[in-house]
């Protein structure tokens, strides 16, 4: 099911994929099962992988909400038929929903969320122009919690031409450089929104996974939220705990792209400041150009974190433990 949107801020040096991820036989990167095994699963000794759609996630930015809802249904059926039904226990997948219609999205979560290989609900771009904690998205929160599925929010949903919010605060960017450097902005907005609206108070079992926005931006934001909790909690009386405490219990982050430019020692100090050893889940972003190799992540993070980052945190999140 080919579905994609044109890029306003294209990668200046390529098509956004690893060259070798293009199947020789044609087709999109990561469309070939044997190549996936050869390039990702086997060299990295992966026991379980989450297939999370690619540009298909942008369906939440389609202007036509009915079309978006149908595309989401078709995408989920396609994923189940093409990938999750394979005789390979490693393959698991996200289900994608059209956030333009939260009630329909909730139906979709209940329709396919019970599939044994579906492990998360992925949101890519806010279909109604509000961050994902807003009560308009309550049906999605409720359905995900009911089905026992974490909600994953993927960065970059707002770079699609159809997005009804800017991809960054402060004005429209000019360059891919800006998009890449500030990919965490929208995820930060969604995170603060979900905490401020008390979503995790209403759904104590609900978990959130923030995907592909880096990991070093978190502690300052948590400290700022904790400061506000002390001062203006009267505005959000449903909040019963420190935002940083809610974060540690409910929120997980994928590792890619790991910000390594300052060196491992400084990065780990920043990560330690928010207890990241229990928060981070290894991700590769294969087949994209900026895929992080497992060994690169292993070299960067302390050995004492490896069991959690490469296994335990994700296993607990997805109920595989």
């Amino acid at each position: 099911m080919p579905f994609s949107t044109p890029q306003i801020w294209p990668n200046p040096l390529g098509d956004g994929y690893r060259p070798e991820a293009h199947p020789v036989s044609g087709g999109a990167p990561c469309s070939d099962y044997d190549l996936l095994r050869e390039q990702l699963l086997e060299p990295n000794s992966i026991s379980r992988v989450v297939l999370a759609f690619e540009s298909g996630g942008y369906l939440s930015t389609l202007p036509n909400p009915y079309l978006a809802t149908e595309v989401a249904r078709a995408a989920n059926d396609w994923s189940i038929d093409t990938w999750l039904s394979r005789d390979d226990d490693r393959l698991h997948g996200a289900l994608v929903v059209a956030t333009q219609q939260p009630l329909e999205a909730a139906k979709e979560i209940r329709r396919v969320g019970g599939h044994p290989k579906i492990c998360e609900v992925i949101l890519v771009g806010t279909g109604l122009g509000k961050p994902f904690g807003h009560p308009v998205y309550e049906p999605i929160h409720e359905a995900a919690a009911e089905m026992g599925l974490p909600i994953a929010i993927h960065a970059f949903g707002e770079v699609s031409p159809g997005a009804n919010v800017a991809p960054q605060a402060g004005g429209m960017p000019s360059y891919y450089f800006e998009i890449q450097s500030q990919s965490h902005q929208t995820l930060a907005s969604h995170l603060v929104s979900l905490i401020a609206h008390g979503v995790f108070e209403r759904y104590p079992s609900l978990k959130l996974l923030l995907v592909e926005a880096g990991v070093s931006w978190v502690p300052g934001l948590l400290w700022k939220m904790d400061d506000q909790y002390k001062s203006v909690r009267v505005e959000v009386p449903w909040m019963k705990r420190w935002p940083s405490e809610v974060f540690l219990e409910h929120v997980r982050l994928t590792t890619q792209p790991l910000e390594t430019s300052a060196g491992s020692e400084k990065l780990v100090a920043v990560l330690d400041a928010y207890g990241a050893a229990d928060v981070l889940c290894f991700s590769s972003d294969y087949p994209h150009w900026d895929t992080d190799e497992r060994d690169h992540v292993a070299r960067t993070l302390p050995r004492s974190w490896h069991e959690r980052v490469f296994h335990d945190n994700a296993a607990k999140l997805y109920g595989w433990a």
Binding site: L13, G14, P19, E20, W289, D292, E293, H296
Partner: protein, 122 residues
Amino acid sequence: MVRRPDTVDVGPLDELAEGRMRVVDVQGLRIGVVRIGTEAFAVHDRCPHQGAPICRGPITSRIGFEGGVVVSLPGEPVLACPWHHWEFDLRSGKSLFDESYRVRTFRTELVDGCVRVWLRDR
């Protein structure tokens, strides 16, 4: 273990396509050889960042900004990694942003119009 030879011959210079890497495997050591004009360059096919097969990346030039215009600067060719797009000076192997990162380079010489790559320099 068989010792690698000191040199490897990769054929006539004029049979190397301009700006297109030819990768040769010398007992497990993958070396990319490329012709730029009348010169041949040879580098280890491994990016120092995350181990990518760097010779699959594009060969470009340095980009500058002069008189309000983005320009391609003549001079030293640049090899960009196909994964994370880190750029390296093809002659020195040094990264364009931090010289402590280097792609291993090998000396080349022309012998009767053919390219010889020195795996051990003397």
